[in-house]
Symmetry: C2
Subunit: 229 residues, 2 copies
Amino acid sequence: MIRLYYWPGLQGRGEFIRLLLEDAGLPYVDVARVEGTAPLLAVMARPGLTPLAPPFVDVDGLVLAQVANILHFLAPRAGLVPEDDASRHHALQIQMTVTDLLAEVHDTHHPVSTALYYEDQRAEAKQRSRLFLQRRLPKFLGWFERIASAHGDVMLGAHSYVDLSMFQIIAGLRFAFPRAMAQQDVPCLSRIHDRVAARPRVAAYLASPRRLPFNNNGIFRHYPELDAE
Amino acid sequence: MIRLYYWPGLQGRGEFIRLLLEDAGLPYVDVARVEGTAPLLAVMARPGLTPLAPPFVDVDGLVLAQVANILHFLAPRAGLVPEDDASRHHALQIQMTVTDLLAEVHDTHHPVSTALYYEDQRAEAKQRSRLFLQRRLPKFLGWFERIASAHGDVMLGAHSYVDLSMFQIIAGLRFAFPRAMAQQDVPCLSRIHDRVAARPRVAAYLASPRRLPFNNNGIFRHYPELDAE
């Protein structure tokens, strides 16, 4: 049984792993939501190579951290990445670009430091968000859209974990920046979003209490003052 | 012949790939330094899945971007990662944490936007650097040091590309933040740095004109006002 360790109460980076596990129908325990955070902290306190931060997974005793690494490890076992080496490295390349985008989305509300509250870096957040929405968001989404368009509304030759990540990116960005997202021209990504949401196991997951709602503790936060005009 | 595409004139993210190629003695062309940037821009302008940004490599027609992905692909071919699956995913986990650290180092001098000059975000850079040096740098280095200490001055069971990355991180941080780095307690990482620098092919590379000096166009930049007191 796969054990997923992540902070309870938010989708955050853990959600990309949940979506893979749910879409594949792999049994797993969302540890901190069932057993509290003590087991998570206990794994991190072990000697040697342990995770710097959640999310991480324990698969038959192998503990792995970093979302893109975890997805790259689980996807072949889940049937959620093509079998050839080139496709797997292309999947990893796209997923690492998702990681980069997430770091920039996070920094729209925490441009100075994670050690400070949002309220203590509001002016900087406004400035950083404006430039993020003007320059970076269209760059990232344009790149994803171009790939989806070239492959026929999938990110690789067939449905894969990268499509699940595109679903989550689009859903999260629409929550955080509804006005800015209404201005983006991403028809292929929108169709990937809708197709993923309609996959039977994903649809069942999204309708279940296992799917936490977006909230302002996660990476995607909705502060109207940070959105486009 | 491996073709490495990166902006000329700076070490930047490309340096992690150069170090692997040099330590392994793999023949490669540093394309933009030999042929200018036109071929780099031409690859990026191709249809379909092309890199969002340099560095990227072309290995027998397979074009791959994202440093950690490239290293994960090349390392088995270079003999620079243990053969077992667990070690390869642990290497990737550590390298992805290097990626995270690099993004934070970059943002010490560009906390608001890459679209603005450093001079236009100097006050924010000072604030972000102070908190980075107080909280984040010791957290990252402490985690790397703990792993190195557990394994006997290597990051995995044997010398690997992750050790090369530790060399580059320590060298870069010492260039950017000499005063802050003098206060860090990282004896194992320092020994890894020195051991890597003394490896014959790395030593030859570092003494050659192929190794660019650190400068303020890269990720690691030395602005004395951003360093610790």
